[in-house]
């Protein structure tokens, strides 16, 4: 139940990819017959990804090496190209590091970056957004939903505010794609980051949707592939797999997301009702179908994960002790959790392979795990002592 960290490749995706490793090796840019199959495969994949997000045409999709590259491209290449208009960028305080760090980098290149606060559920503060937007603002970049808390942002509303000031809106949809329908036209999105692995496609592939007419510089200069914005011979098996994954996601999203929501709500209810001093992180209903983020008072997250691992369950945490830094997750701190509360977080992210039996199993083992760790902890309050 740690699908946020990595998903298996769907067997149908693998089948679609294999011919592009075994037989079709032509360079899509060549003239001869060998290149036709690969060019066709590449462009079909582009169409499928465009259809997933209701993009105006396949040429608005640029394939990249993944969400991190797409985020870097959206921020840096829009900032460089629009420096004549302004140098101000707005983002939120619950972004992925592949948004935060490019933004921080740009502050060393003469740009100014504003990090918007979020409320206790993780919703971006729209009043602050309105207040901070100015004629100097060239780009607003907001995460569609942060996988650590699952809260889905009101993107269409954000877009109206951003476009009122003629800035571009970039949305990082990495944790969202394949789970909820994305419509870049309806939502008013100018740039959108997509990831293949997050919808059961291969790792190492992603895309950046760029609305026609958006002023942006190339990321990689070279032979002019990907409309000259991202040169280099295309990763054919990867993009074809991504396309297949997008097609499957589009067809099965509705049924699968309804199934996941049922499992999600059952797991949340089962944990919160059976374990005292347990709380939900993020919003109860405006949340990703796969996301169960909970926190437990008086204990620390890593010891919960180790205990789950011993029982055959993989989960993750926003705790400092599972990360490379000693601070709890910036996302959990941004929603207003105190350090000692953020430390006690556990994150379950459900996927296609998870069954109701597995959810029942987790609900059955968690109370004992939490009880044992609380017995070890000196923080257990009197009322918990049995």
């Amino acid at each position: 139940m740690d699908h946020i960290a990595g998903k298996p490749v769907d067997s149908r995706v693998l089948e679609a990819m294999l011919p592009y490793m075994k037989f079709f090796y032509g360079n899509p840019s060549s003239i001869h017959l060998f290149s036709q199959e690969t060019r066709q495969g590449l462009e079909e994949a582009r169409t499928k990804v465009a259809e997933l997000i209701n993009a105006e045409g396949k040429d608005s999709i640029i394939f990249t090496s993944g969400a991190t590259e797409s985020n870097n491209m959206a921020i840096k290449c829009v900032a460089y190209r629009n420096k004549d208009k302004g140098t101000h960028i707005i983002t939120s305080s619950i972004e992925h590091m592949s948004i935060i760090n490019p933004c921080k980098y740009l502050t060393t290149k003469g740009y100014k970056v504003t990090f918007l606060p979020v409320d206790q559920y993780g919703f971006v503060d729209l009043n602050s957004l309105e207040k901070e937007l100015s004629n100097e603002t060239i780009l607003v970049t907001i995460i569609y939903a942060n996988g650590e808390i699952g809260t889905i942002q009101p993107i269409a509303e954000i877009s109206r505010i951003v476009h009122g000031k003629n800035a571009y809106l970039h949305v990082d949809a990495t944790a969202v794609n394949g789970q909820i329908p994305i419509d870049v036209k309806k939502d008013g999105i100018d740039l959108l980051t997509l990831s293949s692995n997050d919808m059961y496609g291969p790792k190492g592939v992603g895309a950046l949707y760029i609305r026609k007419g958006t002023r942006i510089e190339p990321l990689i200069h070279g032979g002019g592939q990907e409309r000259g914005l991202r040169s280099g011979t295309e990763n054919l098996p990867g993009t074809v797999g991504f396309g297949k994954a997008a097609e499957i996601a589009k067809n099965e999203m509705h049924t699968e997301s309804e199934r996941l929501k049922r499992l999600r709500d059952k797991l949340i209810k089962g944990l919160l009702e059976n374990i005292p001093y347990s709380f939900l992180n993020g919003h109860p209903t405006e949340r990703l179908p796969d996301n169960v983020a909970v926190r437990f008072s008086f204990i620390e997250g890593e010891s919960i994960l180790l205990s789950l691992d011993m029982m055959g369950v993989a989960a993750s945490s926003g705790s400092a002790c599972t990360a490379k830094t000693l601070e709890p997750s910036h996302v959990l701190l941004a929603v207003g959790l105190k350090h000692e509360m953020a430390h006690g977080s556990a994150l379950f992210t459900l996927g296609r392979q998870n069954t109701e039996e597995e959810v029942d199993y987790v609900i059955s083992i968690m109370p004992d795990i939490i009880r044992r760790l609380r017995q070890i902890s000196p923080l257990t309050p009197k009322e918990l002592k049995e």
Partner: protein, 129 residues
């Protein structure tokens, strides 16, 4: 990530609990940092007759607490004061580098408990010699 020894102590911590009438108590760390431990000792004839711990923290924090109680039990106060963070980590067959500082507080908690006992009994340098 962790050695089998760490996981074994995490699974079955030794000497877990409190000693209500402890002769010395040492608490180090704090919940804000994600690690906090308390060590309780009973002293008889200048030796650690009983020792227990309570720990809030990650797997390493719990395992080091458990290990330090095993290392200290039965030792004289003088010997117990010589137990270092390094000794605890070695006895656990190693800790991940990032855990060496943040979670390896158990020896400090043991020393604090002994110092607490010495203070209460107005004892000092003569025990350490």
């Amino acid at each position: 990530m962790y050695t089998q020894k760490v996981m074994e102590h995490f699974k079955n911590p030794r000497n877990m609990g409190e000693i209500p009438d402890a002769d010395g108590v040492g608490t180090v760390g704090n919940p804000v940092c994600g690690d906090m431990m308390s060590i309780y000792i009973k002293v008889k004839d200048n030796s650690i007759a009983d020792i227990k711990f309570k720990t809030f923290g990650c797997g390493a924090a719990i395992a080091t607490s458990s290990m330090v109680t095993e290392l200290a039990k039965g030792k004289t106060l003088k010997e117990a004061l010589k137990i270092t963070r390094g000794d605890v980590a070695d006895a656990l067959e190693g800790l991940p580098p990032i855990k060496m500082h943040c979670s390896n507080l158990a020896a400090d908690a043991l020393h604090a408990a002994i110092e607490d006992y010495l203070r209460k009994h107005k004892m000092g340098e003569e025990v350490k010699k």
